[in-house]
Assembly symmetry: C2
Homo-oligomer: 412 residues x 2
């Protein structure tokens, strides 16, 4: 069995301290030790490293009566900039963050879902980043790294899009292609991994340490964390809940199988359900997926009966498919994210909650929460920025000798 | 979020050393440190404790040229006896083990599946243990603990059968009932947790550290381990793969939902499938489930065409349901266990392997193994004995001052 090395443990401890600072805000060394469970000596060492690397700064010094002055530490947002990018079938969405992962700027580029050339997608990514950087008034040279979420099966260590069914990509070396045009380190991963990290750091992860984060868009999937660890699987392919069965021999799915959850809950699946209810419904005229889902939301507002039936059937499919996830994993928390969730949460969430007792075993139902994500902004981009920050800190902590950190230039 | 205490960590380290001894056989302190990744000092402390508690003994001393003599340590099988019990709908199966978990004796009692009184089941458990103890020629007073697997939802810390649908039990305090009649500590858990532990210690866990162990019997379920950790879920209810959907609105399941995997792959589900193929098939006359499955195996040997069709359909259902498990968890290994698996493995395993590529995403298929369990004997009983050994060691390590261990009496 694989064993953690001392190096892994050191990285993990650094992330624990960083994560605690995100959760607690400005903190003393004692508070960090208490929150992380690490020894005061370990925390003191990490804080000293982070201070010398410029990742932390002293926010305040408190003079307690009788005791030593207590330094309260905080992440230095000015240490650099990080870009998180959400690449989907139909768009690229880029956000520039400071080192505290506060949003500085945002850019979006539409992708033609019928174009599948890697250079076309790379160009879209670069343009979205440029727009975000311009929007935030950020200097290119201050960017420490770019994290790019790619749909499909991604191998983050190799920087490869192993398989992206929407573009029929096989083993596209996306990190290499991007690093040719972007003069900074690039980290690629999959959106299901990104949404879990964003939820662990900035969402329900503050309350629970096991969860599923269900992403509803063109495709659907679930990011999973168990006992505080992101589940990646043997080949970083865990979470393909969209390709578990809702109904054996049911609707054809774009993966080639029949009856998958995605064939019912992906945006094209919603369109299929509506066509079953009313093949002549005017909303079906919307050819772009996001326009279609937005039109469904508007029509529900207006009380359209066919769309109400669509919401009802979709809620039932969703409750059944979430029931499978909860029965298998006995997780206490399900969070809904992705643009379909955002557009339809008002109708889906109450209906799903009402249906769940029909699908979840009693022993796993008690205390179960199903909530729309509370993570601000684009959760995929935020999660990718958090991964990129982790990778930056790993390289920083292992590579550079103390004292060599660059002085950041102030933004003009 | 929950943090591990120093006490948890100490227990975990003790289990790591114990587990290494099971994997490696007689080992030096250096080998144990290398295998566990623990520091030599930590290993030395644990070995000293185990020696003083009588859990380990020195197997051999090797004199290396020039170096210190090297002690090779081994678990002392004579330190005591442990009983593992598998309670199912239709039988109780008890095994007595030495401290190395070598089998000493075995006893089995049939249960009438229509009797649901707790005292009836407790009596069956006691009789099976008595039979195993007599079979092994073991003195009652040498038994250190009894581990009892109960079907359904079990809360091991409280010792409670929270819900056993087969008996319609709710919150039956089974540990208390058993400790009234058995003069030793009792540990209760669920078979899905037990089969994973047995597989982690004595089966595929020697090669992989993430796995699903699929248990096919009257009910079906999957024990799951990820990165070397048994997945319990929020309420010890993880692994209810039998109550994930194969087909929305499909066959009624005894859980009250429709279309669950168990309704197709549990022994009564196999009977339903056969009745769909040939409602007058003579095998359907077998009223007891195990007799029915044994008769299916015999009929397959004889080339019965309806039974061949049953094996084919069952293999397809199993491949589809395993596909869901693999797509969601991206585990590299699936092990089949339970009495239906044992009886039908020859027909099911090759057919399932042939079907899997239709159900598993390409990125999760490569390197995936599906194998019948290689764990010897009753895997549920063995896993329960392993849990009980862990619990014994925790109590021993935390409770008794050094030097107070009882001298074991030799068996007559």
């Amino acid at each position: 069995m694989a064993r953690r090395t001392a190096r892994d443990l050191r990285s993990e401890n650094r992330f624990e301290v960083l994560h605690a600072l995100f959760e607690l805000g400005p903190s003393t060394r004692q508070e960090l030790a208490r929150h992380t469970g690490l020894s005061p000596a370990t925390v003191a060492t990490i804080v000293t490293e982070f201070l010398s690397e410029g990742v932390l700064r002293v926010a305040t010094v408190e003079n307690n009566t009788g005791g030593r002055p207590q330094e309260r530490l905080t992440i230095d947002p000015e240490r650099g900039r990080i870009v998180g990018v959400d690449v989907a079938e139909t768009y690229v969405d880029a956000t520039v963050y400071d080192l505290e992962l506060g949003v500085l700027g945002h850019g979006e580029v539409a992708l033609d879902e019928h174009e599948n050339d890697p250079s076309y997608v790379v160009d879209g990514i670069v343009r979205a980043i440029e727009a975000a950087v311009a929007d935030g008034g950020v200097q290119q040279k201050r960017i420490l790294g770019v994290g790019v979420s790619m749909p499909g099966h991604v191998h983050p260590d190799a920087g490869v899009s192993v398989f992206a069914p929407n573009w029929d990509w096989h083993d596209v070396r996306i990190e290499e292609l991007l690093e040719k045009v972007l003069p900074v380190p690039v980290y690629v991963d999959n959106p299901l991994k990104a949404v879990v990290l964003s939820e662990m750091w900035f969402g329900v992860g503050r309350v629970v340490d096991s969860m599923a984060v269900v992403n509803l868009g063109t495709g659907v999937g679930a990011g999973i964390a168990i006992d505080g660890s992101l589940m990646r699987g043997a080949t970083n392919n865990a979470g393909e809940w969209g390709h578990t069965l809702l109904r054996l021999d049911g609707r054809p799915c774009r993966c080639g199988r029949r009856g998958c959850v995605e064939a019912y809950l992906g945006a094209p699946g919603l369109r299929t359900t509506l066509a079953e209810i009313d093949p002549d419904h005017p909303t079906l005229a919307q050819s772009r997926q996001r326009d279609f889902v937005e039109a469904v939301a508007l029509g529900l507002d207006a009380g359209d009966p066919a769309l109400k039936e669509l919401a009802l059937r979709t809620s039932r499919y969703l409750a059944a498919a979430l029931g499978d996830l909860v029965n298998l994993l006995n997780i206490p928390s399900v969070t809904l994210t992705g643009w379909t969730s955002t557009a339809l949460a008002r109708w889906l969430v109450p209906a799903v909650r009402a249906e769940l007792p029909d699908h979840v075993m009693p022993g796993s139902l008690q205390g179960l929460t199903v909530e729309p994500s509370q993570v601000p902004g684009n959760a995929v981009a935020l999660g990718m920025a958090a991964f990129t920050l982790q990778r930056f800190l790993t390289r920083l902590g292992l590579g550079s000798p103390a004292g060599t950190r660059p002085r950041p230039d102030p933004e003009p």
